[in-house]
């Protein structure tokens, strides 16, 4: 373990005030001893940097998928007082509302095992990779609706069913979207990309439920052993990237204007109550809504393919849940006996609200929020549920994925895309991508083992395991 960090629990570590100059609160992160060996000094430095920001409450936090990013570490969570705190694009990232959703089907493993035609058809239907464009023509009016109403726009346009919205964080759209804060450039990037997956770590995966840990929660979520599901991982595409780029610039000036000292330019920020802060939040929410519309459109395309190929009805494929893992939200939390409005930044972290939380659909209120954790390509993904302990300790947050441990340069030296595809095929996993590089970049070995990461959050209690799914087919972005 790195010098200057204190172990304060089985899986809990503290970065004390003073680790970097100007820290206002300690840093805390959750990591098992074996995962701690992969911890990078740069990630801890970033966690400590966040603790210097004005109005930060309780702790600068990181989940067990912590790794070195820019601004916040990936896996970072921080809540700020609405009155005295700041908002920062560095705590959200370029891919605003990058997130993941899980769709269930009535199909069983035997129905889809070895069905290359299914993976090929999904690959043809969902635009993926660098430069991919949608076949859909989006008018300025439609783009505005996507940014204002998100998944609700998609459902009401025919890309889903009303129940889908009950299974999205925020009901599928943030009500604070302000399209006036979205630049003409961001909109231009948004027109051709509705319903596209993107590239990098984005994917669409056909999976099977291999293990149930919590039968009551699994049943409530609609998951059964042997059931085939589909996981979709993508975000707000170029529109979101441009919103971040534009507002970083504005907030950099605001940082100086409001005399805020920051240790990293990527942490440019403004008071939440300032016009610059409010404008960024409105633009970010609009981009988040675009991402929800995007995932809903991909869901629709996926349901159509499955419906046609397996003669199943559209409404036999309910959405289990949709979570955002790059976003800032205004939420209510209890802190030292006080009920407070706070701005929670989650950068590569997932909301994990516990039982009784107001944002949950009534039928899941006694269980807690479904939490979807994608594994790396070829490894298991997990469904968990949120807990009261997460509400008490992490502002209702948990990990978002496996977390990288190997750079892309290292990955390409070790493994070729062709070898990885062949190895995965031996395990019964069919992979399609536009380039071998994309496969090599995201090979299973470049990530922390996903089971170790979720075991930490389960054992700490900031979310609890419900089910494990493994991939049968992968479309790489």
């Amino acid at each position: 373990m790195l010098e200057g960090i204190n172990r304060i629990g089985m899986h809990e570590w503290e970065v004390p005030v003073g680790y970097v100059a100007g820290m206002r609160v300690p840093g805390r992160f959750f990591l098992s001893e074996s995962l701690a060996r992969t911890l990078e000094p740069g990630a801890v430095q970033q966690l400590a940097n966040v603790a210097t920001l004005p109005g930060i409450l309780k702790n600068s936090l990181a989940m067990p998928d912590i790794h070195w990013g820019y601004g916040f570490p990936i896996g970072g969570v921080a809540a700020f007082s609405v009155d005295e705190g700041i908002i920062s694009p560095g705590g959200v990232g370029f891919d605003i509302n990058c997130g993941v959703r899980l769709l269930s089907t009535p199909l069983l493993h035997k129905d889809v095992a070895g069905r290359r035609d299914l993976i090929d058809e999904l690959f043809r239907t969902v635009p993926t990779g660098v430069g991919a464009k949608s076949a859909m023509k989006v008018s300025p009016r439609v783009l505005e609706d996507m940014m204002v109403k998100g998944a609700q726009w998609a459902v009401r346009t025919g890309y889903g069913v009303e129940r889908d919205l009950m299974r999205c964080e925020e009901g599928g759209f943030m009500k604070s979207a302000d399209i006036r804060a979205v630049s003409a450039k961001a909109k231009l990037r948004g027109f051709p990309q509705g319903g596209t997956l993107g590239s990098g770590n984005h994917f669409l995966e056909i999976q099977v439920v291999r293990e149930i840990f919590d039968p009551v929660a699994a049943k409530a979520f609609g998951l059964a052993l042997g059931q085939v599901c589909c996981m979709i991982h993508c975000g707000s595409r170029g529109l979101g990237h441009q919103v971040c780029t534009d507002h970083l610039k504005i907030l950099e000036s605001a940082t100086k204007k409001y005399h805020i000292t920051i240790p990293d330019r990527q942490l440019a920020c403004a008071p939440i109550t300032s016009s610059e802060g409010r404008t960024y939040f409105g633009a970010m929410a609009a981009a988040a809504n675009y991402a929800w519309a995007n995932r809903q459109m991909i869901t629709h395309a996926t349901r159509q393919v499955l419906s046609k190929m397996f003669r199943i009805e559209y409404d036999q494929m309910p959405l289990i849940y949709d979570v955002a893992h790059n976003v800032a939200k205004m939420e209510e939390h209890d802190l030292e006996g006080k009920h407070m409005n706070v701005c929670v930044h989650r950068k590569g972290a997932t909301r994990a609200f516990g039982p009784g939380s107001q944002d949950l659909p009534p039928d899941l209120s006694s269980i807690g929020q479904p939490v979807i954790i994608p594994g790396s390509m070829g490894t298991s993904s997990f469904v968990l549920h949120g807990t009261q302990f997460a509400m008490d300790r992490t502002f209702g947050s948990t990990c978002h994925g496996a977390g990288r441990i190997m750079s892309r340069t290292q990955a390409k030296k070790h493994l070729s895309g062709r070898e990885i595809t062949a190895n995965l095929l031996k395990e019964g996993i069919i992979v399609r991508a536009h380039s071998e590089n994309a496969i090599a970049d995201e090979a299973p070995d470049v990530y922390k083992p996903s089971d170790e990461v979720v075991n930490v959050v389960h054992e700490v209690g900031i979310s609890r395991l419900v089910a494990r799914l493994s991939p049968l087919g992968v479309i790489k972005g």
């Binding site: 990078e40 790794h67 070195w68 990013g69 820019y70 601004g71 990936i74 560095g90 990232g93 370029f94 891919d95 990779g129 660098v130 430069g131 464009k133 450039k185 231009l188 990037r189 993107g198 590239s199 990098g200 170029g238 990237h241 441009q242 971040c244 780029t245 970083l248 610039k249 950099e252 990293d264 330019r265 990527q266 440019a268 990288r404 441990i405 190997m406 750079s407 892309r408 340069t409 290292q410 536009h434 380039s435 071998e436 590089n437 994309a438 970049d441």
Partner: protein
């Protein structure tokens, strides 16, 4: 080639050495295009970008962000650039070609240009910088 990829866990980190600021910028531009679209890029379509910023680092980040924007909305893949810097004003003449899915799909989409750790230094051996592209 005078740029190299430095190991970075999540994103792409590029280190560039160059004798002048103009070459430093053009090498970083080439790195960006290579990360996104691979090495097989040709010229023939021309674009001009003009940027003004508050310091050299912002000038570079703003220039590269504009390249990302133009490349995406106009579906262009650039191969060459001629850059002129006058104080904190930049003029770039870019040469490229339309995106070809067959030749240009081998890279990683860059989501944004990060300011984290971005510092341009100038010493006896010329200019140097590290820059992180979010992929």
């Amino acid at each position: 080639m005078s740029f190299e990829e430095i190991s970075h866990t999540a994103d792409v980190k590029i280190r560039v050495h160059a004798p002048t600021l103009e070459v430093l910028f053009s090498e970083t531009f080439s790195a960006l295009m290579e990360v996104m679209y691979g090495k097989n890029r040709a010229g023939g379509v021309f674009k001009e970008i003009r940027i003004e910023s508050s310091d050299n680092e912002s000038l570079l980040a703003d220039f590269l962000s504009e390249v990302l924007f133009v490349s995406e909305v106009e579906s262009l893949v650039f191969s060459d650039v001629i850059i002129r810097i006058d104080g904190l004003s930049l003029t770039a003449k870019l040469s490229g070609e339309p995106f070809d899915p067959v030749r240009h799909s081998g890279g990683s989409e860059v989501k944004g240009i990060s300011y984290s750790g971005l510092a341009i230094t100038h010493g006896a051996k010329g200019y140097m910088l590290d820059i992180i592209f979010d992929v």
